[in-house]
């Protein structure tokens, strides 16, 4: 039997809902009033919401596990219970080793205190001993690059500086088990890259990491295994590549149920085809296609092809009105959209078609096709994680130098 670092067994978490919201504090006044109004008290017990239901998994020492799912799927609740912030309703968790949780950068930072003071305060909050902080202090501030301002109150720091210092403290926690929640979602691209590089160092040090992120590229490059949560239930547990794929299917399956199609209009066979069938390569052209079924005439319509990233941001909102003449009559239409190479950063994207009709007797109408996952693959170098697009650039440099030795020294370190 192998060793286990984190063992989670039949974990459930229940919240009581009050008037549609999450569990909230009440007021003494309400509680006193309820003594006199017994039936109102009864009503409150009704709304019960399971944030997590029967979650079981094991994480081996040195394993980096990704936890993926939509917002509200229970990812953060799971991390909060494992880090002992919130207590479970049912189930057991065994943790073998010291646990450090990084659910937010800069927890407990106080604007009035200096950088130095905040490093000590934040370190203590994250569970570091004073001697440990003393030892790592120089390393922490040099990693953050804030040596000059270390005795300035952090309220005078720029957002970037503040985040760098906060992350730097957190990055120096040395626990056997590390829980990380969505820290890559804050800060600029430079900061995110730094976080990601540090995370991959941590992963390679043989520490056990549980990692929550919406960034599929990061999840894929850092994690070895993964679980997929959906509405509090664990829907998948296995290899990270399969987990990401499962999540992709889950996202699109859900969208299909929410599609606004009526009987008269329908999109089928939404597909994306590149050089290989199951995805597209970042630097290659590809084609999106679908079949449009029209039972009625739709005058004054517009057709869109929409490509979104994993955060739901619309990257391409392709639009063509030149098809109007065809769609005026009922029929079955094959639609093909050719895309040039878009050089998107590898990751999970999604695509769907949309139809808007403005000339109907009932006014405007909108029809949406189901959404399909688009897995963009390609080789990413560390530098390429820096932007949304990763075009293959060709550099060329010409110039006339004034002095020979200046040119040499400049060119030695490009």
């Amino acid at each position: 039997m192998g060793e286990v670092a984190v063992h989670v067994e039949k974990l459930s978490k229940q919240y009581h809902l009050r008037s549609g919201g999450r569990e909230r504090y009440s007021t003494l006044r309400d509680s006193i009033m309820n003594v006199f109004k017994l039936q109102r008290n009864h009503d409150r017990r009704e709304g019960v919401f399971w944030a997590l239901k029967d979650i079981s998994f094991d994480v081996k020492p040195g394993e980096v596990m990704g936890i993926i799912g939509r917002n509200g799927a229970g990812k953060s609740t799971l991390l909060k219970i494992i880090s002992r912030i919130s207590s479970p309703t049912r189930g057991v968790i065994d943790l073998h080793g010291r646990v450090g949780s990084l659910l937010e950068v800069g927890t407990g930072f106080h604007p009035e205190l200096s950088g130095r003071e905040n490093v000590y305060l934040n370190g203590a909050i994250l569970g570091m001993q004073r001697s440990e902080i003393d030892r790592k202090f120089d390393e922490i501030i040099s990693f953050a690059g804030t040596e000059k301002f270390i005795d300035t109150p952090v309220k005078h720091y720029s957002t970037g500086m503040y985040l760098r210092l906060a992350f730097s403290v957190a990055a120096h926690i040395e626990t056997e088990i590390l829980l990380v929640d969505e820290i890559l979602a804050v800060g600029d691209a430079d900061f995110q890259k730094k976080c990601l590089n540090k995370m991959s160092d941590v992963a390679q040090e043989g520490r056990t990491v549980l990692f929550v992120s919406h960034n599929m590229a990061a999840i894929r490059s850092l994690c070895t295994s993964g679980i997929v949560l959906d509405r509090g239930e664990m829907r998948f547990y296995g290899e990270i590549r399969d987990a990401v794929q499962f999540y992709g299917n889950l996202v699109t399956a859900r969208d299909q149920q929410e599609t606004l199609n009526v009987a008269d209009v329908g999109f089928t066979n939404v597909r994306v085809a590149g050089e290989n069938t199951d995805g597209i390569t970042t630097g290659a052209p590809f084609k999106a296609s679908c079949t449009l079924h029209l039972q009625v005439a739709l005058p004054g319509f517009q057709l869109f092809c929409i490509l979104q990233n994993e955060f739901g941001e619309v990257l391409v909102h392709g639009h063509n009105t030149g098809l109007e003449a065809h769609a005026a009559v009922p029929g079955i239409y094959q639609i093909d959209v050719s895309f040039p190479a878009l050089w998107f950063r590898p990751g999970l994207y999604s695509l769907h078609f949309k139809l808007m009709a403005s000339g109907l007797a009932s006014g405007k109408a909108r029809f949406v096709s189901n959404t399909i996952p688009v897995d963009v693959t390609g080789t990413v170098t560390g530098e390429a994680l820096h932007g949304t697009l990763t075009p293959d650039l060709h550099w060329h440099m010409v110039g006339t130098s004034l002095e020979v030795h200046v040119q040499e020294s400049k060119m030695a370190r490009p």
Binding site: E3, Y15, E23, R24, Y25, S26, T27, L28, R29, S31, K80, I81, I82, S83, R84, I85, S86, S87, P88, T89, R90, G91, V92, I93, D94, L95, H96, G97, R98, V99, S101, L103, E104, T107, G108, H110, E112, L113, E117, Y120, L121, A124, I125, L126, G127, Q129, R130, E176
Partner: protein
């Protein structure tokens, strides 16, 4: 392979219901965090307020001035043969510590919600830090008390060796009541509106402006059920040398104070698991 894992710490997380024990070893492990939280509270308070340290003195001192004028001079409240200003100020110093401790601690978990919802540590540390951070203010006000005793020519007798006991009693009482209010304030958010009323009411129910020697004996001992009675009388007895010692009333106060602390700790622990969900 298996031996290495036995050296590592093991934590088991399971649902907690009902009365849970207090993990003193864990509290001890987090003593540095307690130190840093106290240090932060003090540092921030003295950095942010314009008057800084002066504020710690102004509050009890001006109350003393008002009390001396109205209760001492106009109403002629007896003060056990001691000049009324010193008599009232000796009680106002521990009282101010107590009332500040209540207002600071009752709001401590809510104002530290960002910590509670993001990091694990024994939650008891937060209200304890809030109470302890008032000790510096207490110290400053106490120095002024010594100055006043010098001015009025009051020399403490040998009973001053009991002063640390009453300091401890003040701390235990503040902590006990503070824990009750902290936990209540998380569960019922309107408790904080009641706290100023409680402290005001409590002040007039305690011998701050008057002497407990106004009461006849069986009642004076019973009066000790209000633990602040023991604290205030103890301060006057040890510092000002009030002739009659407080007597059995002190034991009643000490007992009441310890009961409040123990019940406060357990009530707090009972709700602790829910704090992150409620805050």
């Amino acid at each position: 392979m298996l031996t290495s894992s036995s050296q590592k710490s093991h934590i088991r997380i399971k649902p907690e219901r009902g009365w849970v024990s207090v993990n003193l070893r864990e509290l001890w492990q987090y003593r540095e965090l307690l130190y840093f939280l106290v240090w932060r509270d003090i540092k921030v308070r003295y950095k942010q307020t314009l008057l800084g340290a002066a504020w710690a003195i102004i509050q009890p001192f001006f109350t003393m001035v008002v009390f001396s004028l109205f209760f001492g001079r106009l109403a002629g409240v007896p003060s056990d043969g001691i000049p009324y200003p010193v008599f009232s100020y000796a009680a106002l110093v521990p009282w101010t510590f107590f009332s500040n401790a209540l207002s600071q601690s009752s709001n401590s978990l809510v104002s530290n919600a960002n910590l509670i919802t993001k990091v694990y540590f024994p939650r008891l540390i937060v209200p304890v830090a809030a109470v302890l951070s008032g000790v510096v203010d207490f110290g400053l006000a106490f120095v002024v008390l010594l100055g006043m005793m010098l001015v009025y020519g009051i020399v403490p007798t040998s009973v001053i060796i009991w002063l640390p006991f009453f300091l401890l009693l003040a701390l235990i009482t503040a902590l006990g009541v503070g824990l009750w209010l902290t936990a209540l304030n998380v569960q019922y958010r309107d408790v904080r509106y009641v706290v100023p009323f409680i402290t005001q009411f409590w002040m007039f129910a305690s011998p701050v402006a008057y002497s407990s020697s106004l009461l006849e004996e069986p009642w004076r001992t019973l009066y000790g059920l209000n633990p602040m009675v023991g604290v205030l009388d103890g301060f006057r007895w040890t510092l000002l040398g009030v002739s009659n010692s407080p007597g059995p009333m002190v034991y009643v106060s000490a007992f009441a104070s310890i009961m409040i602390l123990i019940s406060g700790v357990y009530y707090f622990r009972r709700l602790e698991g829910k704090f992150a969900d409620l805050v």
